[in-house]
Amino acid sequence: MKIKILFISIIFVIILSGCKGSSGSKPITDVDVRQGTDGLVMEFTKNAPPDKVFEDSPFPIAMHLRNKGASDIKQGFLALGFEKTYVDFTEEKKESIEFEIKGKSIFNINGDEEFITLNAKTKKVGAQSETHPSTILATSCYPYKTILGTSACVDTDIFGTKLRDKACEVKDIQFSKGQGSPVTITKIETRMLPSADQEPDKVKPHFIIFVENKGNGEVIASDMIKDACSNKPLNYKDFNRIKIKASLSGQGLNCNIGEKEDGAEIRLREKKDMIRCTLKDGIDRKQDAYTAPLQIELDYGYTFTISKDIIIEKILTY
């Protein structure tokens, strides 16, 4: 019996001696904050508003706003919607409340949050009813950015005739994890185009960028953000408009081929679209393949609405 124990212990010691403990340390800066498909996340705090409210009495509405995306929100707006016959603010309020919340960064990997509290007041339910169900709506409208920085391969050897090892290979790049924003770039297809006749010794990198709205809200034009949180009417053309800027190695890409160079725009259809961007100046064919930084910036407004049902109860007296 003792021999058995001795034998097992020795084997155990041998196995243990072969083990290497992991340090478990991760570089503090090695945090990719540009991940996920959330932007602003908003919810009613518990019991504000309460599920049941007596008529003709004040009650609090508290909103918990968290910026779970990687873009800072400046000049965001929050608008509350009531059934005006039964609920209203206790005092005169503006149409919408402005807010600012910083997004995720390597110094604040969770993003900032904000609480907005308002006081509302119920009105009389009416003689014929004991209760009245109502809904409180909260709509946020805010500017947001999707920034994607990636490395793209620039290979001037379009037909693969150069016989040499290459530093990189031109291929499609998929982005399944999002970029820390509700509108995400899902895929980039890279093509190397032969330059036009006037520059036969050059190739032009060409990128097909696929964009998708993966959030629960709607994309609006960045100049219509305030209007979206007001009682002003919006045109259908104000929705699904995204401005795009792209650069390769710091050189701007032309994303509006055949049209004006600045102010390239994407129009989402069924939450998706794609755009083609090309480097204006070609790259010398003699240059070998190299990896270049590709940056894409999408600029848009975003809006979404949450709601909570409440019941307004009549105060019954004998």
């Binding site: 041998i14 990719d32 150069k162 530093a167 990189c168 990896t291 270049a292 930084p293």
Partner: protein
């Protein structure tokens, strides 16, 4: 007593197991490696942490970067009596955006220093050694993305020479079976010659008026063979001088036959591209050389003699290392 014996036996076995598992094979110290063997020429490797696997760049300051390569001559060229032409060779670095990773003086290539790169010999069994250092900095201003992941490619192009002197049989009467001979005409398998291009086999065939030699050669290294005069086309940027071109398909797989002699007699060889180049197909090639009977007609019986072959070529090998550059912004 028996129990104790069993205990000891088990303990002994376990100890033996531990000792064996800790043992590594010892190289025989006495077995000196031949100086003209192996299939390496000049090899390069990134020095550890040069470049680093990852860099953190703050938005205010340039971050220094150093790409250092160990250069080792593992082959047998140049021998002491040979002209050292290795200074025609160059190391290039590429694969990254030159606006982001800026090398000092825009220096993206270095000439091989032939003084340090002598071939493997009996007095220098490890071969020559040198380092090539490329220093520069990462410019944060040009880094527009948070993370940039280029692959640093180091390309070495150099001239090299393969020499072999196998013993071949010269038989003036190859079809006379009755005579006792010291050798017979046939094939000779060769070992490596301390160079990436190897003469693998020599097939011999005799007719009544000549002896033919088929010299089979092979690219046994990991790189590409290029015409020795086209080394300057190796530049991955192809823009340093006005006459520079990039390598074309026809510049590859050409090995120059410098010399093929039997004794003092020069062999007549073919087929040769442009009169001097042996072509390789899928890394292998051959040349047929013949020795006229006039060269050995005075000899009455078979004899052995060295067949001296010298090949010259350009060789290109590439290594790569992926790096990661992360840009951090300061708290302020």
């Amino acid at each position: 007593m028996v129990k104790r014996k069993v205990k000891f036996e088990i303990l002994f076995l376990v100890l033996l197991l531990i000792i064996i598992s800790g043992c590594s094979k010892l190289g025989g110290q006495g077995s000196a490696k031949g100086s003209e063997t192996g299939t390496d020429g000049i090899i390069i490797n990134f020095l550890e942490n040069n470049p680093q696997d990852s860099y953190l760049v703050s938005s205010e300051d340039d971050e220094p970067i150093s790409v250092t390569l160990e250069v080792r001559n593992k082959g047998s060229y140049p021998r002491s009596e040979e002209v050292n032409e290795l200074s025609r060779g160059k190391i290039y670095i590429s694969g990254f955006d030159r606006d982001i990773i800026r090398m000092d003086d825009n220096d993206l290539s270095q000439i091989l220093r032939n003084d340090y790169l002598s071939g493997v010999s009996n007095i220098n069994p490890e071969g020559g050694f040198d380092t090539a250092e490329f220093k520069g900095f990462i410019s944060p201003d040009e880094l527009v993305v948070d993370k940039y992941e280029p692959t640093i490619l180091a390309t070495l192009c150099y001239p090299y020479v393969t020499k072999a002197s196998p013993t071949v049989c010269i038989d003036p009467s190859p079809f006379d079976d009755k005579q006792k001979k010291v050798c017979k005409i046939g094939s000779t398998q060769l070992s490596s010659q301390g160079a990436p291009i190897t003469i693998t086999r020599i097939d011999q065939e005799a007719s009544s008026n000549k002896i033919q030699f088929k010299l089979n050669i092979k690219n046994d290294g990991n790189g590409d063979v290029i015409r020795v005069n086209d080394l300057k086309k190796c530049n991955p940027y192809g823009d340093t001088s006005s006459d520079s071109e990039t390598l074309k398909r026809k510049d590859f797989d050409r090995v120059e036959l410098i010399r093929a002699t039997v004794g003092f007699s020069e062999l007549e060889c073919g087929p040769l591209d442009e009169g001097r180049f042996i072509r390789l197909f899928n890394g292998e090639g051959y040349v047929l050389c013949s020795l006229d009977r006039a060269s050995f007609e005075e000899v009455k019986s078979a004899y052995t003699t060295p067949l001296n072959v010298e090949l010259k070529y350009g060789y290109r090998s590439t290594i790569s290392k992926p790096i990661k550059i992360s840009k951090i912004s300061s708290i302020s």
